[in-house]
Symmetry: C2
Amino acid sequence: MAPSSGSVSIKDVAAEAGVSVATVSRVVNGHPSVSPASRARVLAAVEALGYRPNAVARSLRTDQTRTLGLVISDVLNPYFTELARSVEEAARALGYSVIIGNADERPELQDHHVRTLLDRRIDGLLVSPTDGGSPLMLDAVRAGTPMVFVDRWIPGVDVPVVRSDGRQAVRDLVAHLHGLGHRRLAIIAGPAATTTGSERVEAFRDALREHGIALPAAYIGQGDFQADSGRRATERFLALPEPPQVVFAADNLMALGALDAIRAHGLRVPHDIGLAAFDDIPWFVHTDPPVTAIAQPTGDLGRAAVRALIDRIEGRSPRSVTLPARLVVRRSCGEGAGEDTSVRRSNP
Amino acid sequence: MAPSSGSVSIKDVAAEAGVSVATVSRVVNGHPSVSPASRARVLAAVEALGYRPNAVARSLRTDQTRTLGLVISDVLNPYFTELARSVEEAARALGYSVIIGNADERPELQDHHVRTLLDRRIDGLLVSPTDGGSPLMLDAVRAGTPMVFVDRWIPGVDVPVVRSDGRQAVRDLVAHLHGLGHRRLAIIAGPAATTTGSERVEAFRDALREHGIALPAAYIGQGDFQADSGRRATERFLALPEPPQVVFAADNLMALGALDAIRAHGLRVPHDIGLAAFDDIPWFVHTDPPVTAIAQPTGDLGRAAVRALIDRIEGRSPRSVTLPARLVVRRSCGEGAGEDTSVRRSNP
DNA sequence: CCTCCTTGTGGAATCGATTACACGGAGGAT
DNA sequence: ATCCTCCGTGTAATCGATTCCACAAGGAGG
């Protein structure tokens, strides 16, 4: 019953069962034309030897790996972790494995992972691009690699995008802030090379305009989606002659950095300055104070992305998917009471 | 320059360069005996065709994938995310890729990933076991799969373990709590099938004994390392005729759940009840209040684990590694002031 | 000028599967 | 009894690399 050592190959099973490798292969893959007798003997041999087909050999022959690559911008960001989890789950349900590559917001690392994944001949690629599109990625698209962008995308490239539209939620946020009497509103943006980096600033600016508020350059901090940049941008805000009343961070990590900086200056949230963030995470319920945030339907995004990618792999032509995000008001911007104070763990 | 389509194989390169596939292979792999002229022509052809060796074919032939499998208990736990990140980083530096499998604390899911990884013939396996050792995993060890346990391990199995010893840190924690005047101390344990589940209770009980304090059964909550179980255990504690003064959660997710439960009961930390956690994470600095925690040297663990595994793969016999954990006192157990209030992002 | 090495190169086997094709035998139709 | 189908099975080609072995050419040494 227990395999003695090294790998047992199909040849060993064939010998043990007294049939040819073709028959073993047929049994293993559930082909119909095998006699019940042979089938039984092969199954017995498989069991006895502890045989498992070599996925490498199989992939070489069939030219498919039943594997998806997922290149995300930053694993330490809980938003992406949750996305990765839902992607893996959805893929598994459809018989695919997922290999995750973490780009750490560094384009060259992203390229490294894309290259490695391509070398392993993954069947399709899910990417949340860290930059505006490296030659490598563009080549991959041109070469016909099944690809789907998730969360972020690269403009002008013909690849389906699965993302969530924060426009309305940002508008809701600004209305909320305005209602609280705040007028000097600042944003910590992500890298301009990413769509989510520029898009959120756009949405914010537009929403402000609806209330007749301008967004001066000094109130746009340049971040890179990492905590440190949030810290630095916030420090710059606080050093201004007229600091903002509320800081809106374009992701949760930069919000964390902002919180650090505010605390380092001995200021209190929301009393001295308000804070809001894009991307809601379980921890925001428990921070001091709980943070008002814009929540994306992360699980749905992951599932939709996998579905789209597998559609492409199997030859269909999936459309892009855009899901709405929603505002979750907590206490970090002032007395908004707690409409919705809890955040669900997305464990569907 | 740009590859036209599908995959370019070594044969295409050979044809383009006017040499045999053997020569192409030699050039690609940097073998010495190739004339400068041939080398140049091959390199030119590789460039022109955009050739990249097929890793699947290469793996089949050489019987090595230069890939490590990492099966972790829960990706949503920031501790494991950070571990995964450092593992990938260390592996990449040594020319290996990592495939992560998320067990979600479910033994059958863990087995699924182990099986899949074995099928793909990964060169070695890093596991943080969710249970006491499934037959599958035991077979894999017996079959000689290079394996290293990280964080958690399976007793009685001859596999190197890379972990951190929290014994002293737990002792420090109990001393801290005792110094604050707390005597009724409870713990939310992890599953008894995991070493970290039982070990931490042991350490806690021993440390209490040193102060002449007992650990009654009612003060041991049974958790599963997930937030919900922390919530339930805490509720049970709070329903006790004499609830504990401090709750120590054996991981950060259960601490989050405990925080939820405490807050749901309208109690305040640390005024009404204290809270401490195993595993420190960046968010603990910003919770209300900042949480006292035991920090593991996560980055070092990941690096040491990769080193050990690659040692095994390359035929050496690595020893187990045990690194100390340390107590980080914050405000969640009472006025301990803030000795060390910040937590580093481990970005080495 | 003939041997002997060295060096560069190509042919072909191999890794472990899948699968097209051929073939032998059983059973039904005529 | 003969022929025609199926049905089950095995042989061998194939996927894209690596690598052993043989061999040709050219230089060194006798």
